[in-house]
Symmetry: C2
Subunit: 404 residues, 2 copies
């Protein structure tokens, strides 16, 4: 597997673009993105489990019900959620893609991200669509990545090449976070493209399995958004033998998919609202995989632990505390905790009790911008990793007045 | 029912005190408290559900297993949790009470609050105990309240008089928050005294029922502490006919208990770490009481909602979002939301969709220091209230470096 350039346009046959159409006031901020494939694609999606769902989710579900799609349109600046005319507007966005690009509206995946409960007007989208379509190109992934950003401070794209049955294939993605991110089915907006040939059923199977250990294990603030969606389009233009069953080829594809999703998890966590540090919680020795996941998520979500990491404070009692209230089957008298970073490793807890450690050494380890919290439960073979970030003044500032 | 002075010493036959014994470095901060009754009391407790439990909780459970106790000793500055010798130290604290006050160690309730995982030495406690016992008085509730404070900015005590079967009784309490507070069985430390006569079984029944709608409905940061405990001692010195069964007298007692617990819920939430505002989420029209509780707690816990309230930002989409991910049976198309305070009421959502409102008016309403979020689910008769506070820079500051 090799890291390559190009994001969602790295796979053969995909073009993308992003423009400022006027949903956002800031003219320097792109707010409308489009990704299209030359041919129809197998499509798979996972969605937020929030009962309050953005209108675009309902429309997308209908459009991919047959397992196929050919384009993705997404705006930022407005979530098109809790609006009486939401679905009509979302359908309107797809119709505009059909008009300008010629791809049937029913093959368009639509997404929106931004403020909830403010009416979304089609007018700026209609105005921006000709330029958006006109500018579609194989170099357009960056613009598309920029067009879906909300409070993200950096664009997020990634691509890998990999081999399936002797054929070289490519997989690429763009994504956006970075607040209201919590492990609950899909989180955030992630658009993945690949030129591998795979059936819709196997694509969905790969994605549904993958998110359990990738996007479901990321938490920025414990809130599950109304608009989260992960969508994969596979256009088959790499011309490998179609993956239509489990086996070696399917596993190759899953591995490539996981490479992309894991990289995005780390980037989204690290760019969490106001974050100064990426936190990676690695749990091992759990009674089961499920226990390991529950414990890792509980620790990564704890406000007190997150604030301590912001302060580079080795307050491991908060790790134990979060393990204890996780609601998982854990023998707390066996728990061991280490903090690890580029600067070294410091062991702070053995068998559920504190052990002496150098505060100076701990401060050095925790002052890095990527921290691993290693939790050994001593109770089995279950393992899991969760990603998150520290809780900072800046998070409060961003969210104290998000709408203005 | 009448509000009276005296906190835990308002009921007949209770004395209290609090001193600085040296667990904390700051000599102006009391760190050891004692409450005693002239006679043995019926005792009832509820405890944290965290698997990681402070050693004092294990010891207290043993001491009240017979339904009786006569004293409460509590230190701040150290949680005596995740220490290999924790239970021995907690038993040692009770033995010191026996030595100085003459109440059998097995009748002493013991509690600790502060940093987790740092060894607690008996030395300062032994040194401070004579003065603590010596100074016990009917005016000592304030000192006792101060001795259990951690990051609390104000002491918390309250007392009411009430009538049971024609006899005047009294009930009083001290409590402390204010971080690591989450609705999960007991939360925070609360010590309640009463001179009403009631059997241990009925006292436990009253307390267990009460916490479901009081302390279990408070959230400051979503973390459930390892040391939370609510304890009630009833010494019977008001000489009412012993309450030993459900009925009118029991209901009078429950009402008085709820008056005390609800007042403390509001104070603890309002004094939440870094808080500038008390948030009160009142849910009505739920399919069931359980649904109402789940929804109220989900909203009051949302970091995004809490940060918006800090900024006086009427971002009601975050209320809808938190209702949606609560995991409760709610028809989101029926949800109505209003914000209310001393300054007025502003309606922001009807039938799951936004309605026009004056941003200026909303800002005025949300700039008060006590905000009510009124959620009508339009789906039944279930009601619940949850208490919380806004998320502020100060919360991050306090918790970024709690241990130093």
């Amino acid at each position: 597997m090799k890291k390559i350039n190009g994001g969602v346009c790295a796979p053969i046959g995909f073009r993308a673009n992003g423009v400022h159409c006027g949903i956002r006031k800031n003219k320097n901020k792109r707010d409308l993105s489009l990704i299209v494939s030359d041919v129809r694609c197998a499509a798979a999606c996972v969605y937020t489990q929030n009962l309050v769902k953005g209108a675009p989710i309902a429309v997308t579900k209908r459009h991919v019900a047959d397992g196929f799609a050919q384009a993705i349109v997404c705006n930022s600046g407005n979530a098109n959620t809790c609006n009486a005319d939401g679905e009509q507007i979302a359908e309107g966005m797809c119709a505009l893609v059909e008009r300008e690009v010629g791809i049937p509206a029913a093959d368009v995946v639509v997404a929106s991200t931004g403020v909830i409960g403010q009416p979304l007007s089609l007018e700026p989208i209609e105005g921006g669509m000709p330029a958006l379509a006109e500018g579609l190109s194989e170099d357009g992934s960056l613009f598309a990545a920029q067009g879906i950003m909300t409070t993200d401070t950096v664009d997020k794209q990634i691509a890998y090449s990999f081999t399936v049955g002797g054929r070289e294939c490519r997989i690429g993605a763009i994504g956006k976070g970075v607040g209201m991110i919590n492990p609950n089915m899909a989180t955030m907006l992630i658009f993945i493209t690949t030129d591998a040939a795979i059936t819709p059923a196997m694509l969905q199977r790969a994605l549904s399995a993958d998110v359990k250990d990738s996007f479901n294990m990321v938490s920025v603030d414990g809130d599950t958004s109304t608009n989260d969606m992960v969508c994969v389009l596979a256009n088959g233009m790499a011309e490998n033998a179609v993956i239509d069953a489990p086996g070696k080829e399917f596993n190759c594809f899953r591995k490539a998919l996981n490479k992309v999703t894991t990289a995005l998890c780390r980037r989204i966590a690290k760019d969490g609202e106001g974050a100064t540090k990426l936190l990676e919680c690695k749990v091992s020795g759990a009674k089961s995989k499920a226990v390991a996941r529950t414990v890792a998520k509980s620790v990564i979500k704890s406000s007190l632990f997150k604030a301590a990491m912001f302060g580079s404070d080795a307050n491991w009692g908060r790790v134990l505390c979060a393990i204890g209230y996780a609601g998982a089957d854990v023998d707390v008298s066996k728990v061991c905790v280490d903090f690890k970073s580029r600067a070294g490793v410091v062991s702070v807890c053995r068998g559920g009790s504190g052990i002496p450690f150098s505060e100076e050494e701990a401060k050095k380890v925790l002052s890095e911008d990527e921290i691993e919290v290693l939790i050994a439960l001593g109770d089995g073979n279950g393992k899991a990793t969760a990603w998150g970030c520290d809780l900072t003044y800046e998070y409060v500032k961003i969210n104290g007045d998000y709408r203005t």
